[in-house]
């Protein structure tokens, strides 16, 4: 009983209680595998999300579509089938749809 009043005895009890929680657990390796599985899942997900449409990418897509339409209209305007094949301009008028007039007013 005298021994129990001793500070080092109390310290030992605390030490033992804490040490008990340090004991390695069984199945730690499977836990590591579980963590890695989740990590790989997240990595794949982040890669996929990185490829999805961002505002910057949407702007670039929009810009490239506009440029393509613009070039198409320009070429179309330069080589009108009515001029090259000597068709009646009026008969092919429906092709224009006023796009060229809007983008290239000449």
């Amino acid at each position: 009983m005298k021994n129990r009043d001793n500070s080092s005895y109390l310290e030992k009890l605390i030490y033992l209680a804490v040490e008990r929680e340090k004991e390695p657990v069984s199945g730690a390796n499977s836990r590591v595998d579980l963590i890695m599985g989740r990590v790989n899942e997240l990595a794949i997900q982040s890669r996929f999300e990185a490829r999805s449409l961002s505002p910057r990418l949407a702007f670039l897509y929009g810009l490239s579509i506009a440029a393509t339409v613009l070039i198409g209209c320009f070429i179309g305007n330069m080589a009108l089938p009515a001029n090259s094949l000597q068709f009646s301009y009026e008969s092919l008028d429906f092709i224009h749809l006023n796009f060229t007039n809007f983008f290239l007013p000449f």
Binding site: D5, L13, V32, L42, A43
Partner: protein, 186 residues
């Protein structure tokens, strides 16, 4: 440290499998640290897993100013505290692994009286650790992680080394006082 930085760089570039090196290296330490707060093996395992996933998600924010372990332990403490706040486990009495049907090897040679007595004392100690003021509790639990210097604890807690020393001493003194009372009662 430089090797670790290179490993982290490579993980960030996309070599995700290298993260296993970090998990292998720190898994047990993080588990011990978290178990010091929650005491239950299952919860500690789940929180260890959550800690590593949180670390992976925010690995890009690791600038290498502090050591990786310091950064990781801080995530572990934050993850544990948010869990404790959420589940209000701080007020619940902890259970030992043996109470969940797992008999400890060390207990096999002891009489049932000895086992119960030791278990009660351990349970009492864990309860008193939970009752310590937060900063004392964190300092005390961190000081029990193997290989963790007071300097590292100070970095994790964002306080001075002398403050850590004082917090650990106060925590120990308080625990001894409480323990002495219960032993005297017996």
């Amino acid at each position: 440290m430089k090797d670790l930085d290179k490993v982290i760089e490579r993980i960030l570039v996309g070599e995700t499998e290298l993260f296993r090196l970090l998990v292998d290296c720190y898994h047990h330490k993080v588990f011990v640290l978290i178990r010091g707060f929650v005491h239950q093996e299952q919860d500690a395992e789940d929180l260890t897993q959550e800690t590593f996933i949180n670390a992976f998600v925010s690995l890009g924010s690791f600038k290498g100013k502090a050591e990786f372990s310091t950064w990781l332990y801080r995530i572990a403490v934050n993850t544990t505290y948010s869990f404790l706040r959420k589940s209000q486990r701080e007020k619940m009495s902890p259970f030992l692994a043996s109470e969940n049907g797992k008999e400890n090897e060390k207990e096999k040679g002891k009489s049932p009286y000895q086992q119960t007595s030791e278990r009660q004392i351990n349970e009492f100690i864990y309860k008193e650790i939970d009752r310590l003021p937060n900063n004392q509790r964190i300092a005390f639990v961190l000081s029990r992680v193997d290989g963790m210097s007071q300097k590292e604890i100070a970095k994790v807690m964002g306080v001075s080394v002398s403050a850590v020393d004082s917090l650990v001493q106060r925590a120990k003194r308080k625990l001894k006082e409480k323990l002495k009372l219960i032993i005297d009662e017996k």
